[in-house]
Symmetry: C2
Subunit: 359 residues, 2 copies
């Protein structure tokens, strides 16, 4: 049990008005206890509260002996876990649950009066997780360092007649050879008009001269995620119009990064990039938020969007990923991960962003 | 919109006493509408009710034009989706939600009085999905046919000095070359004592003479999942004790399969295998249920366990996977997928189960 992280969550929980909390998100449980359990559809929860040892409800299928600073309540597939949980809860107290707790557990808790009231107290964990400590910062850097190396390896897979799938099928092996344990998300490899869909999945599209080649890639190293996007061009310099949107996106990326330091409203960061793209005439074609927080998961609580008025904090990691998408035509996105430091910021990705022609 | 499936769900919903339902599980939405949307952390829901066109709440990020028989309510990352949903709900009606609906959506619905009552009505969708129609049955067969071919290819990867990871790293490519779109779950490759952990993840363990080699593998073909386990031995015949547990597991697998037809309590199927293993002296070492239902997801609603008194139905697909696990020593599991047919059953996997020595 990481006592510092636990205390941080408990203090915030107190501010929210919740007296105990059931944490069910496996990554949050790992972050607190150092123990990875992936329960699939089975129930897993860590009950935390002030001045008492946390209680871990865990299926015997995931049996382990180690002492991790919790009291373990074991159950099996044929047990009804709800009475076991209710027995540990105080029906006179306000119970917090995390945002992903599922209705199949939540509704019976509510119906059986297991707590005075149930509130979504995810923010207590999420805000704490959004501020990475030094150990986590080192792991985040390492994950992005490997992602930079991977980008260099992946662009070398681009050749005449290749398909998106032929490239993406080779990426996992390369990541593993570089020391990653796996993907942080399935890689996006988009040629030409496919790049106009920000969530395009690699398919049988064959590369053509003049196509853009967009890689949105990330890996997991020591449990921490990376995420970066670069857009290249195959064989031929793009026309002036495409060059202009490329430069707009690059400037939006760089100017948003340059302003970063602690205490900036995240919506202002989004606005910096968005205003520049809008002034260039492509506002509607930048149809997503500027970025998302990242850590043990590739998308964590917190985003860089016009709706988020929270301030940047030292230890925050998020993506800066402006894009312009022209349906049926082409797309550009340039993305780095950044860390907010005491004195400013650190860009985790060092892969060049100049318009690059592959051949 | 698959009207037959929708009607089936609406009828069951009526029996449960829910008048409308928010379906949020992406696979359930695909099963009903034929449209795959993977929203990640973003809200996605299909509102269904008698005599009205379903309403799909969907983020603009996943924009599509096709007509799929729903009214679409689009929103963006900066919109609050809750009022949009509330506007469509009748506060005087009982609202069903699926079992995976998350507290971040469920608690505000409850707090704002969006419905007279909210109940977990997953079973309406889940029971309907558990009975596969002929189109689905054909896809399930094809997925397992490819899985049989994959098992044959994977066992050929076993050689002196290989590690579990070196094998598992090659499996995705082989699956894809056979026509699968990907894994239905990350493959389990376990050597020797690692096989004693039913959920062991491939690591750097090096194969040794006499080790068992357990493959628990599955792929996705045309959106449908396969899942099969075989346990082999490397170079050397196992000792009499291991041979005996292997035969116990094989008999448990085969006898449980042989009894299958419509109308059998699923707990009786579990008991058939479990009693045999218990009589052989290894009851406590068979520490999980006998099987799980499967289809669009590798684990679907329904299992073969002592707690499930429901009866088998024509069109059900599930796994039969007895195992014996000796901690620190070895493990055996033999798993097939089966289909309940009108007159009996069909075993989807044809890969041999006789004790096999690899060399």
């Amino acid at each position: 049990m990481n006592q510092e992280r636990l205390n941080c969550v408990l203090n915030r929980l107190n501010e929210i008005g919740a007296e105990e909390m059931l944490v069910t998100e496996p990554r949050a449980i790992f972050w607190l206890t150092g123990k990875w359990v992936f329960p699939g559809e089975r129930f897993l929860a860590l009950l935390i509260r002030k001045n008492e040892q946390p209680v871990l409800f865990i299926n015997r299928l995931f049996w382990f002996d180690e002492e991790i600073g919790v009291r373990k309540v074991w159950f099996s597939d044929t047990d009804d876990v709800l009475p076991l949980v209710r027995k540990e809860l105080d029906p006179e107290k306000v119970l917090g649950v995390d945002k992903t707790m599922e209705s199949r557990f939540l509704l019976p808790l509510l119906e059986t009066g297991a707590a005075k009231k149930v509130v979504n107290s995810s923010i207590a964990v999420d805000e704490a997780r959004a501020v990475k400590d030094l150990e986590e910062q080192a792991k985040m850097r390492e994950s992005s360092r490997i992602n930079d190396l991977a980008m260099e390896a992946f662009r070398k897979l681009v050749h005449e007649g290749v398909t998106e799938l032929e490239i993406s099928d080779q990426t996992l092996k390369i990541y593993k050879s570089l020391g990653a344990s796996g993907y942080s998300f399935d890689p996006i490899v988009s040629f030409g008009a496919n790049a106009a869909d920000p969530h395009h999945m690699p398919d049988e599209t064959v590369l053509k001269e003049g196509d853009c080649v967009l890689f949105d890639i990330g890996c997991v190293v020591n449990d921490y995620c990376s995420d970066m996007t670069r857009t290249f061009y195959w064989k031929k310099e793009p026309d002036e119009r495409v060059k202009r949107i490329y430069e707009l996106v690059r400037q939006a990326n760089e100017q948003a990064e340059e302003m970063l330091k602690p205490g900036i409203p995240l919506c202002d960061v989004d606005a910096k990039a968005r205003d520049l793209i809008t002034a260039g005439g492509y506002g509607p074609q930048f149809n997503h938020r500027l970025g998302h927080f990242i850590g043990l998961a590739d998308h964590e609580y917190g985003d860089v969007s016009s709706a988020n008025h929270n301030l940047t904090k030292t230890g925050n990691f998020f993506s800066i990923e402006p894009g312009i998408y022209l349906a049926g035509d082409t797309g550009v996105r340039i993305e780095d991960l950044v860390l907010i430091t005491e004195n400013g910021h650190e860009v985790l990705n060092h892969y060049p962003k100049e318009l690059t022609i592959l051949d």
